[in-house]
């Protein structure tokens, strides 16, 4: 019995080292090498998620039904793609439509905010025995680190349910940050270089004492890892990517002088330094009362930010490498309630996809103009996730073992071929 302990310990130490290898210079070199090759097949390399928390009304955004009873006076506008209409208010996005595809027939089984958010962010319904990773976590896990010195999975203006690493580990949780109006706080060391070095040495000594006979548990805290990452950030030139005040005033104005607009601009800057996934949050879509007025107010913020992001990415040659998706946890009822609001509607809502790996200018599925559920060509949440992962060159059927030994696929649906560029 006793002889088992040392070997188990050794195994843990080895596996611990394996887990940290992505931090080492060798790992980074290998990753860099991997990044340089394979330019021919051109899968996307990063994702920007515009997350509309609360459940946006499809009728007042990507799926208008002008002139019908369910529209409740919402008008539609033409876009740069003949035959595709958007709701009024999205005039600037309409000019970018050739790069945007819409899924109007999303189907989910979750009509509660927390459960719906989990489902759309991970591609799976909540399950008490496992926490699934969000898209950004899978991408960071699967794609190489490259020369990125800042966190590679970031959520800007996060809400109560930020994207998590789940069974891939907390190290894949999103880095949470607020309005990127200025520099990242607390990134300046407090003291001289000599004293800073002494402090780090002391810290090392203290952690060595603490690690004695709790090495495994200390690794789980990510304490050393987060200190190393924080210090890498502090001295990195890439830190400037967070700070949109370094952009010309005219560019900032294009995106909109709002936290969300600045978030989208920061997302572009972060993608440029190799960040894999940036989620930018826009709250306030839960319009149980006064739907039209509240949604119009949100759309006014969304439209310039989304459209400028696409334009900006394209002009910098980044759009083909960056997949942009815009979605919330569900849609809203076609029927308008007595308070002028729309309630939760997970059966027939819209998602917009654009850029890297996605063929633009298309519409998948259609909702009923009378407001009945069960849209044509329904798309399950798992299919959406499979499509996004495929566009990034990650196989959705990759199987992973959870900590309790269950095997789970990265996405349980099928990619939608129509949305993807032909391989090769």
């Amino acid at each position: 019995m006793d002889h088992e302990f040392p070997s188990r310990r050794r195994f843990l130490r080895l596996s611990g080292l394996a887990g940290a290898s992505w931090l080492t210079p060798v790992g980074e070199y290998l990753a860099l090498a991997a990044e340089r090759r394979g330019k021919t097949s051109e899968p996307a390399q990063s994702v920007i998620i515009l997350w509309l928390q609360g459940g946006p009304s499809q009728l007042e955004t990507f799926d208008p039904h002008p002139g019908t009873r369910i529209a409740g006076d919402t008008k539609a506008i033409r876009t740069s793609v003949p035959g595709i209409q958007l709701a009024e208010g999205l005039e600037r996005l309409a000019e970018q439509m050739q790069d945007v595809s819409l899924i109007r027939s999303m189907i989910s089984k979750e009509g509660d905010h927390e459960r719906g958010t989990y489902t759309l962010k991970t591609g799976f319904r909540p399950d008490p025995t496992v926490v699934h990773p969000a898209i950004g976590a899978i991408i960071c896990h699967q794609l190489p680190v490259g020369s990125t010195e800042v966190p590679r999975h970031i959520s800007i203006l996060p809400n109560a349910w930020p994207p998590r690493g789940g069974y891939l580990g907390d190290r894949f949780d999103a880095f949470l940050m607020g309005d990127p109006a200025g520099p990242v706080p607390d990134t300046q060391s407090l003291t001289s270089r000599e004293r800073d070095q002494a402090r780090m040495n002391y810290l090392h000594l203290l952690d060595t004492t603490f690690a004695a006979s709790r090495q495994r548990r200390l690794e789980k805290t990510l304490h050393r890892e987060t200190i190393a990452a924080a210090r890498r950030m502090m001295t990195s030139e890439q830190l400037k990517a967070f700070d949109v005040s370094l952009e010309p005033v005219s560019v900032r104005a294009e995106y909109g002088d709002t936290p969300f607009g600045r978030g989208c601009l920061a997302a572009r800057r972060l993608i440029e330094v190799g960040v894999r996934c940036v989620e930018v949050n826009l709250d306030g879509w839960d319009t149980h009362i006064n739907n039209h007025e509240l949604t119009r107010d949100r759309v006014r913020i969304l439209d310039p930010a989304f459209a400028s992001l696409l334009k900006d990415l394209r002009s910098r040659g980044l759009l083909e490498k960056t997949l942009v998706m815009c979605l919330g946890e569900f849609g809203r009822t076609p029927t308008i309630n007595p308070a002028g609001g729309r309630d939760h509607w997970p059966t027939g809502f819209s998602v917009a996809l654009a850029g890297g790996g996605i063929r633009g200018g298309q519409v998948i599925g259609a909702t009923d103009p009378e407001g009945r559920p069960n849209p044509a060509d329904p798309v399950q949440v798992g299919d959406l996730h499979a499509t996004v992962l495929t566009a990034l060159g990650i196989s959705p059927s990759t199987v992973h073992q959870t900590p309790i030994g269950r095997t789970v696929r990265f996405a349980e649906g099928k990619a939608i071929p129509q949305l993807l560029h032909d391989p090769g």
Binding site: S189, R199, R214, K220, H223, M234, A339
Partner: protein
């Protein structure tokens, strides 16, 4: 010519230094500040319950073939109690009093001192309030979170039985300002429905917070594991259909609970009904009074377990059943210790202090968080080793502030000190990242937390070698280097340095390249930035 004024000046300064030094070295006379109720720890009934809890863990260890790790040091257990129940590490002053007592009395004395401290009532109330009313500010004018927490703090300070507290929350009437318990109802006021309370949210809150059940998931669909049906949840919500909010506050009147009938498309009325243990539901009283009696009935199979699971989690950092508000999550298969503790709690009049004393006395609470050989996943899972969990932001902030002061910061401290502490704590808590109600999730640390601890304002101000900070006081007053190092360790990590650490840092302080104050700043910075400081262990 040295005048009288110079002499007085020298005298005053010298006297001040002597007084200050006398205050610190040696420590003030170690008369325990409070007595403790020895009988409550030694009576046969108490001992028996502790032994039954211990036995339930020992059985699990045997069947899982794991061995419990070594016992933890007394000071480490004292630190756990202070963090879990007061949200701060013990002060150096408290450590000195603790150590002046005979070894077999220390922990009981310390726990009872905590239970009599206003910091306990206040911190514990805040932790429980999160489950009761959430962390948000709620509807404007109709909800006063501060009043609610203060009320709860008073109930805990007065040792009011837990079942009485819960009955008042569920069935209370009146204005949220002078009957603060009713904030439990008014926090759900719906501005778009004439500020009337929300029966569904209330039903969800009651089942989660007081029964440890997520019946509300059945609102939209049938529960995957437990047997709850949609109609169970609707029947539960109907208990709040006669609850109203008016200008005199929360009151009961006429009302019915209507839901959409999926078959006919029309509306049907749902009568109040409980999903299990129907025989415990009284016939008299308002709907809410009936529900309150049923929820808190000593034979309700979930009521005591739910709070036991939560108190266990607050004290150890990890619930016995995860997540903390879902006793059915693991298919209803809870750790047997939960039933033992719940039975004792119900049998002794829902006495929170007794529950806390039992948890603190059981063997698991006194196990170390490390061992040789190092405990593995199986030991972790079966509580053969004390859990290691990330401290909450207010616990980290509270500990930084306490570590920066050698004497205890408590209700007796100067009001300005407490106010300053409150403001700094709030800013720090927001930045450190408060996940709100989502507690006990066993997560790792984050990069923003490390940036805040390494470079943030609170740490910068508190590790500065100034006369009001422990760093400065130790640097100037400690009789020798080893004593200075030891005090710094006690103030931050609640332990003495290992011989290796003592040697290393004594040599550092002796190094004349910079002032002792600067060396002390560097040491303190490292101590509060260590994993040991930010984790409960």
């Amino acid at each position: 010519m040295p005048g009288l004024r110079d002499l007085i000046f020298v005298g005053v300064v010298g006297g001040g230094v002597v007084a200050l030094a006398a205050h610190l070295w040696p420590p003030p006379p170690n008369q325990p500040a409070t007595s403790y109720d020895a009988a409550s720890y030694t009576n046969a009934d108490f001992r028996e319950s502790v032994q039954r809890v211990d036995a339930s863990f020992e059985e699990r260890w045997q069947s899982a073939q794991v061995r419990p790790t070594r016992d933890a040091a007394d000071l480490l257990i004292a630190r756990r109690l202070a963090l879990g129940l007061m949200g701060t590490v013990p002060s150096v002053e408290e450590i000195r009093q603790f150590e002046a007592l005979p070894a077999d009395q220390r922990l009981a004395w310390w726990l009872d001192r905590i239970l009599q401290d206003q910091r306990f009532a206040s911190y514990f109330a805040e932790r429980l309030a999160r489950a009761m009313v959430g962390t948000e500010q709620g509807p404007f004018l109709l909800f006063r979170r501060r009043r609610f927490v203060t009320w709860l703090e008073e109930q805990i300070a007065q040792d009011r039985p837990y079942d009485q507290i819960v009955r008042e929350l569920i069935a209370g009437t009146g204005l949220w300002t002078d009957h603060p318990a009713t904030n439990f109802i008014s926090v759900t006021a719906q501005p778009d429905k004439n500020n009337q309370p929300h029966p569904i949210r209330l039903a969800g809150r009651v089942t989660r917070a007081f029964l440890g059940l997520r019946l509300d998931c059945a609102e939209c669909h049938h529960h995957p594991f437990a047997e709850w049906k949609q109609s169970d949840f609707q029947g539960f919500a109907a208990f709040f259909a006669q609850t109203h909010i008016g200008f005199k506050g929360v009151y009961d009147g006429p009302g019915k609970f209507e839901v959409e009938d999926k078959k006919t498309g029309g509306v049907k009325v749902v009568d109040p009904a409980v999903p299990f243990a129907k025989e415990l539901l009284p016939q008299q009283g308002s709907r809410r009074q009936q529900l309150a009696m049923w929820v808190t009935h000593p034979q309700n199979p979930y009521f005591a377990k739910a709070i036991v699971n939560r108190v266990w989690a607050v004290m150890t950092g990890r619930p016995l059943v995860e997540p903390v508000d879902n006793l059915e999550a693991q298919g209803g298969e809870a750790h047997p210790a939960l039933a033992v503790l719940a039975e004792d709690f119900a049998r002794h009049g829902f006495d929170l202090r007794r529950l806390i004393r039992i948890i603190a006395s059981c063997r698991v609470f006194r196990l170390d968080s490390a061992g040789d050989p190092e405990p593995g996943e199986a030991e972790d899972l079966n509580w053969a080793v004390f859990p290691m969990t990330r401290l909450r932001p207010e616990q980290v902030a509270g500990s930084i502030l306490q570590a920066a002061s050698l004497s205890t910061i408590n209700a007796q401290s100067h009001i300005l000190l407490r106010l300053a502490r409150f403001g700094q704590e709030n800013e720090f808590v927001t930045r450190y990242g408060d996940f709100g109600e989502d507690e006990f999730d066993g997560r790792g640390g984050t990069i923003p937390q490390r940036l805040l601890m390494m470079n943030g304002k609170l740490v910068r101000e508190r590790v500065a070698a100034e006369i009001l900070n422990s760093v400065g006081r130790i640097a100037w007053m400690a009789p020798d280097h080893p004593k200075a190092v030891e005090t710094a360790f006690l103030a931050t990590l609640t332990r003495r340095p290992t011989p290796q650490e003592a040697d290393h840092f004594t040599a550092v302080l002796a190094n004349q390249t910079q002032r002792r104050g600067q060396h002390m700043e560097d040491l303190f910075w490292a101590l509060v930035n260590s994993a040991e400081f930010s984790w409960n262990h």
